[in-house]
Amino acid sequence: METLDLVIVGGGPAGMAAALGAYEEGIRKMLILDREPQLGGILEQCIHNGFGLHRFGEELTGPEYADRYIQKVTELQIPYRLQTMVLNIHMAEDRDKLITAVNEEDGLFTVKAKAVVLAMGCRERNRGALNTPGTRPAGIYTAGAAQKFVNIKGYMPGKKVVILGSGDIGLIMARRMTLEGAKVEAVCEIQPYSGGLTRNIVQCLEDFDIPLLLSHTITQIHGKKRVTGVTIAQVDERKNPIPGTERYIECDTVLLSVGLIPENELSLGAGVQLDGVTGGALVDETRQTSLPGVFACGNVLHVHDLVDYVSEESDLAGRNAAKYIRHQKAEATIQRKITASGGVRYVIPQTIHLPVTEDQRFYFRVGDIYNKVKITVKSGDEVLYQKGKAKVVPGEMESVAIKADVLNRAGADLEVTLVQEGK
């Protein structure tokens, strides 16, 4: 059996950044496994621009952003196998990991590795998870599937479109299909705010006068063989349709952009503990999961809105996997939990080992729109850090950087919370 230091599951932006991070820390015996025929993951179909502003200081399209990493992986001759499906990950008795995968060329094979980085990304929620009544006619797609049809295969899923959910992919597809000649009738968002980035609302909807109907949902999809229309309605605070607000919109296509879920079947099979809120693994400050030597990063850990942060997080995971492989991880003395409260939905990482030698960044998302808040990090009753922010929204990930010495002073578990300004 082939024995390696590191196996990386997924060759998208997360997997590639993790591989490069590990490489820079001296790891050579590694392998990236990906089920697609090329590296780059979902970025291949994200042909719009806006990637890389933080990482490269310029606006790149998805394929261009991926290409920067593919070039490096190729240049450094980091091995990868494509069209390879990882079937399961097992912990061996000696704490090594056994990764079983299958592809056409090698058939079924198992490799052994000291560490694994999980970088499988996420998938879209689909209609089944949503309970929209009606028949199941053709013409209903997730926004990501439509994106693949239009951008990779070059055909349009329809001419008259209603989009359910205002996630970023849905907004991007509203513009893309409009430019290709379709009429996007409306974007219905059940929440009173959009789930997408503000810039996408401006450039993808407002630019083309596409109505964004907040607090609206599709109550019925019409059509036998093909979608012929939808009934939409306004919803109350409890998300129940308000009688009398129903409206029929004729359309031949419904796109679903109602959220993304980390793809953690493999992680669960391996025994990784997940966070009920993120749907991703519980990790510490090194992005190590509950299984020693198994790390997670990118959208499989929590759904990001910017790929730049995926790269940053994955670089960290890759470097820490390298340290684990070299047994360099400092013996942790104290473990502290990091919890979310007061409007904060979740925090990554969920635990931290003290003392730390480097400053730490905590990433989090809020559950609603809040104006004029102080992002606050507490340890017990002691406030360790506070930063004022004019506005925080659910669609945009937030982060706070905390100095190592401040963290090392923490005498109790940590909590990230929002405090209303003036209190």
Binding site: N49, T61, L179, V202, D305, E396
Partner: protein, 121 residues
């Protein structure tokens, strides 16, 4: 004097800008966190521009389409005209990332370039 409320889209922060106009002339931009926001506010109210991204048909390649973009932002009002020009084109594989597809997109002076490579089949 007229005021316009805009969301700056230069970067993902998305600052809320207030642009005060005197006719066609911008008097002030407020709400921006950085200089680029001011420039955006002025441009958006006088000559709005957008980067166009799309795909172009490829013959004889490992993929039937290749992604493209306008190398710089083009006037917003030109987007649909530019799409027509883009959809008329067929490339022949191979093409490399950054290849110029159209030298001057609809008289904007901005080239259309590929954003990925396609190998020969």
């Amino acid at each position: 004097m007229e005021t316009k409320n805009l969301t700056c889209i230069v970067c993902p922060v998305g600052c809320s800008l207030t642009v005060t106009l005197d006719g066609d002339k911008v008097v002030s931009v407020t709400g921006n966190t950085c200089k680029r926001g001011e420039a955006y506010g002025i441009a958006e109210c006088t000559a709005p521009t957008r980067v166009l991204t799309s795909t172009v048909r490829v013959e004889g390649g490992t993929a039937p389409f290749v992604s493209v973009k306008s190398k710089e932002a083009i006037p917003k009002g030109m987007l649909f005209e530019a799409m027509e020009a883009v959809n008329k084109i067929t490339l022949h594989a191979p093409c490399a990332i950054g290849d110029v597809v159209i030298e001057d997109l609809c008289g904007s002076g901005i080239p259309l370039v590929t954003t990925k490579g396609v190998k020969k089949r």
